[in-house]
Symmetry: C2
Subunit: 210 residues, 2 copies
DNA sequence: TCTAACTTGTGAACTAATTCACAAGCCACG
DNA sequence: CGTGGCTTGTGAATTAGTTCACAAGTTAGA
């Protein structure tokens, strides 16, 4: 399989969410044109994205909604449950720990960890907060597939290093800082400041462009 | 000014955060090579990104840290305060309302709004929760530059439509759904499910690629 | 069975983004 | 004031991503 662009993977997620929506409504088939309209792209783009993984449609007819949605779930790795650790029991960590959207998609929040001794033992989102030392042990023991990082920027890189050392291969970070990981570890960063700056850039420079 | 790629704007944010860090430490100058190393890119990329906006460096010397950081703040529109409304007083909305990182960067959370009558009047992050009807009025009155949406997927598009109709030009959405806005409105979406699926895709397909 | 109306899958063309590579400028030092 | 060591800024080359355009397959209806 050749390397797949991140933009393609993001679009697959979008297509899947539509497919699940219309599958629920009992729609039997759909077309690249439908998916494009709903996902804000073009039908050629939809077909090209899918073509990296195989031929899932029928010419003249379109795509079977249940089949394509199953295939996309497989491609995206959603055919199983994923065990998630939340590292950092602050406001955002707590909000994520009890976010229902995770469970719906097969992401199970199994543990919440924090370095603040005064928090350890109390509950966040129905889960008891544990210490960072336990996090190391739990990761080494294979208890987690994914860690979600909601810690201050200063602490983030050293925690990432610990997680990587303990053998974790996927991290989603909300820390407002640039992190580095070895190439066999996948890292995604959501940086609110950066998103807002994208907006202010547009507000500030709108109209100056041609 | 020619159209600037979103990827360039994101990198400018990264460069700026480093510049602010080293400015605080009193470092007087830096180079495209430094910025590249810290930001996980190449020095040519850094110079190209900056070149869209002007020439800020000195050959043989590099960039003045205070000057470049000022310029980037100007480019990104951070030279002023931005008034932010949070729409949706759920867990995530509440976490964002009191997120200190916003204020540091000049984003002032002035109001929190929710459609649930039982929440209206109570406080979230030190701000009293107001009704959606008031949101319309406040936006029309020019009280806001930016809205941050933390509402369920089902409600998101209709709220976006209201905000757009009321004249708002910039929206940051955390709703897990695809939204559409007119071309004169800037929308950024943070979709946690999509980020996690990016990770599971990588975990599932790692090694299959060449 | 034939035709008309669709829709996919995919090379080819195009557009966008990144990287290369080097002339030009700057500083320090002798 | 000349030389050596750096570093920028930027066209050119390359690589990546998107869009075009059409052959080929499918269905429905006469």
């Amino acid at each position: 399989m050749r390397r797949i662009a991140e933009s393609t993977v993001r679009r697959l997620s979008i297509y899947l969410s539509f497919l699940e929506e219309i599958e629920e409504r009992g729609v039997p088939t759909t077309s690249s044109d439908d998916l494009a309209r709903l996902g804000g792209t073009t039908s050629a783009q939809v077909r090209k994205d899918l073509s990296f993984f195989g031929s899932f449609g029928k010419r003249g007819l379109g795509y079977s909604v249940p089949e394509l949605s199953l295939r996309l779930r497989e491609i995206l790795g959603l055919g199983r449950q994923w065990k998630v650790a939340i590292v950092g029991a602050g406001k955002i960590g707590a909000a994520l720990a009890r976010y229902a959207g995770f469970a719906e998609r097969g992401f199970m929040v199994i543990g919440v960890y924090d370095s603040d001794p005064s928090k350890i033992g109390s509950k966040s989102g129905g889960v008891i907060i544990k210490s960072m030392a336990e996090l190391d042990r739990d990761v080494v023991a294979g208890k987690y597939d994914i860690a979600v990082l909601t810690v201050p920027a200063e602490a983030a890189q050293s925690i990432v290093d610990r997680l990587v050392k303990a053998g974790l291969k996927a991290i989603l970070s909300f820390a407002p800082t640039q992190l580095s990981v070895p190439s066999d570890v996948t890292l995604r960063t959501v940086n609110m400041a950066m998103e807002l700056e994208g907006l202010t850039f547009a507000l500030t420079n709108r109209g100056n462009d041609k």
